[in-house]
Amino acid sequence: MRLVLRETMLAFRRAPLLSALSISTIAFSLFVFGLFGLVAVNIHAAIGTAAERVEVVAYLRRGTPIEAVTLGIADIQAFPEVESVGHISEAEALARARRELPEFQDIFEDLEVNPLPASLEVRLKPEFRNATTASTVAERLKAFHFVEDVRFGNDWVQKLDRLRTIATAAGTVIGAAFALVAIIIIGNTIRMAVLHRSREIAIMRLVGATDGFIRRPFLLEGLTKGLLGGLLALGLCYGAWSLVGIYHAAEFFTPTESALGVAAGGLLGLLRSLLSVGRHLRSV
């Protein structure tokens, strides 16, 4: 292991410029991918925030005994799609309307009878906040005898669904393209580093080095370059994010996503080294 470390260090020391170029090329290709990732993360977060407003409201018949409603709430809570169920009494509905609709203050003042029905506000779990599920849950709610009407803003939820579909499709295609470009650039960078030392590989083979012995320092070198490139890219992304943050609050990668990004750099470096050295080994 000490020999592998020494050979790897030697490779960096012998060609510092080439190593620096490799690392910065890897870093910039991952940085571009990372920037796209940041945009995707923020679009996803924005859609998620909008989707939090997706809820199904069941308006209750007047005079329904509270015991029946309580039992119904327990049943609805057991739906696999449902996150929570809130009960809004008639009085609470009126209080909320007064609070949220000040422009109708006069009308509310003159009311003799509360015209607003009690309701159940059914919040869906994040993964179910779409038109299809909302519609299914709405249908099931209608089956309860104490439910008079169900609303969930069908048009709005459908628009949100469309936006989500477009964002996911565009994100996948553009993300895959950026990832592919990054993989190709990183691959070629590592391959050039191996090519630079093809003579050394040939000499190692001739003096009786085993394939594993030859491969190990290259793998460690590829892994190190990939990891360093990944870390640098993460730093650049953080810098870009901080810059944007001056004008507009934005989301950054979670620690897990950051670690995965850096690890992906390392893995790419490692795999490409394995492939490139293997190709040379077969030719000597």
Binding site: L3, L10, R14, R199, E200, A202, I203, M204, R205, L206, V207, G208, A209, T210, D211, F213, V284
Partner: protein, 229 residues
């Protein structure tokens, strides 16, 4: 110890490099492999260190056989051979000492034994005083001595030299040739591929001459007259 049995080597693009070649180099012998450029000398050496297999026939080297050798055995074979090239094949960014030590390190030799063994062979080739110099700081003859020291450090059973004096002036050529003779006198077989007929004629030795990929003369057989120079 080195045996070619009806060896043919064809390349898809350039055709036959060797055709039905048979010869035998016994243990401890000094042998020349001669022939004009393109006669097949380098191909024959590549088959000996098993960089590639023959198209047909068989090459046997120190217990290893081309038809049966596995990928994992090739490094083991090469540790029993010392290989020297016309262009030295030294690692430019390592000193003479490091170049020689490298051949031991790849075999997993114990660190404590590497230093003394390296110095022993550098002394043997007359370069103990230049152990810390880089190849670019050495003359062609000295670089070839480092290459020979590297080939010797694993105590090979045979030293293969492919035109080892091809890049050297006359004085350096004589020095390197004498060194190879000394190494042979100490018990290591030497197979030297060369087209330098003056060198070949200068000492009595086993001579295998290749012409257009076929054995034109083998002094061990001595059935055919050597070709005119």
């Amino acid at each position: 110890m080195i045996k070619f049995l009806n060896v043919t080597k064809d390349y898809p693009k350039t055709g036959a490099a060797l055709t039905d070649v048979s010869f035998h180099i016994p243990k401890g012998e000094f042998a020349f492999l001669t022939g004009h450029s393109g006669a097949g000398k380098t191909t024959a050496l590549r088959l000996i260190y098993m960089a590639e297999p023959p198209t047909s026939g068989e090459v046997r080297v120190s217990g290893f056989t081309t038809s049966r050798i596995g990928g994992r055995d090739v490094p083991r074979l090469r540790r029993r051979l010392g290989i020297v090239f016309q262009d030295f094949q030294l690692l430019e960014d390592r000193t003479a000492e490091e170049n020689v030590a490298f051949a031991l390190e790849v075999t997993g030799a114990r660190r404590s034994t590497i230093g003394p063994r390296v110095m022993r062979v550098l002394t043997q080739v007359g370069l103990a005083g230049k152990a810390h110099q880089y190849p670019r700081e050495l003359s062609g003859g000295e670089q070839q001595r480092v290459a020979i020291a590297r080939a010797l450090v694993n105590d090979p059973v045979v030293l293969l030299a492919d035109e080892p004096t091809g890049n050297l002036d006359e004085r350096a050529t004589r020095g390197i040739f004498q060194l190879l003779r000394d190494i042979n006198a100490a018990g290591t077989a030497v197979l030297m591929a060369t087209h330098d007929l003056d060198l070949v004629k200068s000492v009595p030795a086993h001579l295998v001459e290749l012409q257009h990929g076929a054995v034109a003369y083998d002094s061990a057989e001595d059935t055919v007259e050597p070709a005119a120079p």
